[in-house]
């Protein structure tokens, strides 16, 4: 998928400020509770016997072969040509089967109990950054074409969510 813009997360940069969470909530008007993107933290023992912390923002990875899609019993989750996985809330019955299938814990459940999750800011312009990228103060969330990443960075950024905007942006071209 050359040319596909991807969103990538840099664990070496994330400092756990949760700005992405709040930016996402404000951008998508999410209620208290569900977190389309969430920064998680983990204590790690270093080689010298002292402790340190690791942070990582987690959102929906928009997997190429998303396990939530076959898990959904009502066909409410769809993946478009741009690879963005979206949920149709009118078909969702809130059974949370998708959450059990998702290894990333991405599906969230709002006050009505229906599934909602990261849309990669699908309502924004295809070339515009997502809210989380825009408001990350340390550049831990960035988007770009995979070939723009150095191999070093690519190694650091295990988690790459495909924000396949190619289809959206080059569709007309």
């Amino acid at each position: 998928m050359e040319g596909t813009r991807v969103l990538y997360f840099d664990m070496e940069r994330c400092v756990g400020c949760h700005a992405c969470e709040t930016a996402c909530k404000i951008e998508n008007n999410i209620s208290i509770g569900p977190k389309w993107i969430e920064v998680v933290q983990h204590d790690v023992l270093k080689d010298d016997g002292t402790w340190t912390m690791k942070f990582m923002p987690m959102n929906c990875r928009h997997c190429a072969k998303a396990p939530c899609i076959p898990a959904c019993p009502t066909g409410a989750i769809e993946q478009g040509a741009d690879r963005v996985v979206l949920v149709n809330s009118r078909l969702c019955i809130g059974c949370a089967e998708c959450l059990q299938a998702c290894p990333f814990g991405a599906p969230q459940f709002g006050p009505g109990g229906l599934m909602e999750k990261c849309t990669l800011c699908a309502h924004r312009d295809p070339e515009a950054p997502t809210a989380c990228e825009q408001f990350c103060p340390v550049g831990a969330i960035r988007s770009g074409r995979p070939q723009e990443l150095s191999s070093q960075k690519r190694k650091q950024c295990l988690f790459i969510a495909a924000a396949g905007v190619t289809a959206r942006s080059t569709g007309e071209a």
Binding site: P70, C72, P73, T74, G75, R90
Partner: protein
Amino acid sequence: MRPEKKERMLILGAGAAGLSAADAIRSVNPDSPVTIVSGEKGLPYARMALPYYISGKIPVKGIFTGMRRDFSGRKIEYIPGDPAVGLDTHRQKVLLRSGLALEYGKLLVATGSVPEYPDMLAGLDAPGICNLWTLKDALQIKRRIEHGGAIAVWGAGFVAFMAAKALAMHGRKVYLICRANRILRRVLDEGAAGLMEHALSEKGVVCLKDTNVEHIGVLKGGKKHIVLDGGRELAVDVLIVALGTRPNTGFLHETPLAGKKGLEVDEYLGTRIPGIYAAGDLALVRDCVTGERIAHALWSAAVREGRGAGLNMAGDRHQCDLSLLMNVIDLGGYGAVSVGHPLLANNTEVYQFADKAGKAYRRLVFQDRRLIGAIIVGRCTDTGFFPALIRGVPELTQARKQKILRFPWNIAPALLGL
């Protein structure tokens, strides 16, 4: 665009479609005025539950689907016993029989269907001859069969079957007068119908196939004398006529919406007049297997369409016109399910399975790599998977299909990716 706050949502009909629509409107729009008009008196009830009421399984209060406080608590106006008699699409008004004219912003026609009557026979107006359609009918039947007696059911469709079953379970002698060569011929094949007939006969129902009613008379003491076309004669206390239904669209005859088969709707359940929607038995929705426009007189379809229409009325854009045929009947634990079009015959692959004891039966019909219909008799634990599968969720891959055909008695593992 959300509708204006003051815009009245008028729902004609308090059946499954009408009430689902009201629920759906309220779920997204807690404020707009909603009015439900019912042609029948009293509280709304589930027509489906009437056979269970006459069989004695539930008390009469168990059939009601909406209580007054449900309506008042959610600020829904409920007008019972006042059927619509006219519609003025220009002034956006509905005229009720009492003379009341209701203005609307959005209108949902969900007046359901009415039973078909055979037009030829004399004597149908005698007491003890009725449909099983309204609560009034049910109360009448219940009263007449209280102290035993024989009952004839004319027709062999879903309602007839449910009536016969209900009364037989109640310990009554029941004759099922079936014009075709099998019962439930629209939804079951011979194999399945045979099993169900057998099960019925074990409960004391006599199925008279390839038979029609020639003459009806009334004997002394009120018993009905029924002459059948084969020359056989029956004397019964009650005759239930259940020969099918037609859409209840009479009051629309002067509007552009009038149509004998039902109301044409688009994929958002809107009719050709903006602001007017239709759902339930009279809405001509697309069959999700054949794609043809047809009115499915089903509870499940009415609930689904009612909800969809309600959401669209409240300002959503929710595509919801694909309807799936599904019938489920149960004879005291022995059930039959028919989903989709299991009897379709062109370019289909048909697989039939029967267990050794001759108790369970399955018919799976595929067309162009799709499952388009299924009949399941006995062993009904996995039936919930069929409607979704026919709708294409999950997709029927070749591997899945092979798994289903290898283990046809429980398709759940094949669908859950095991």
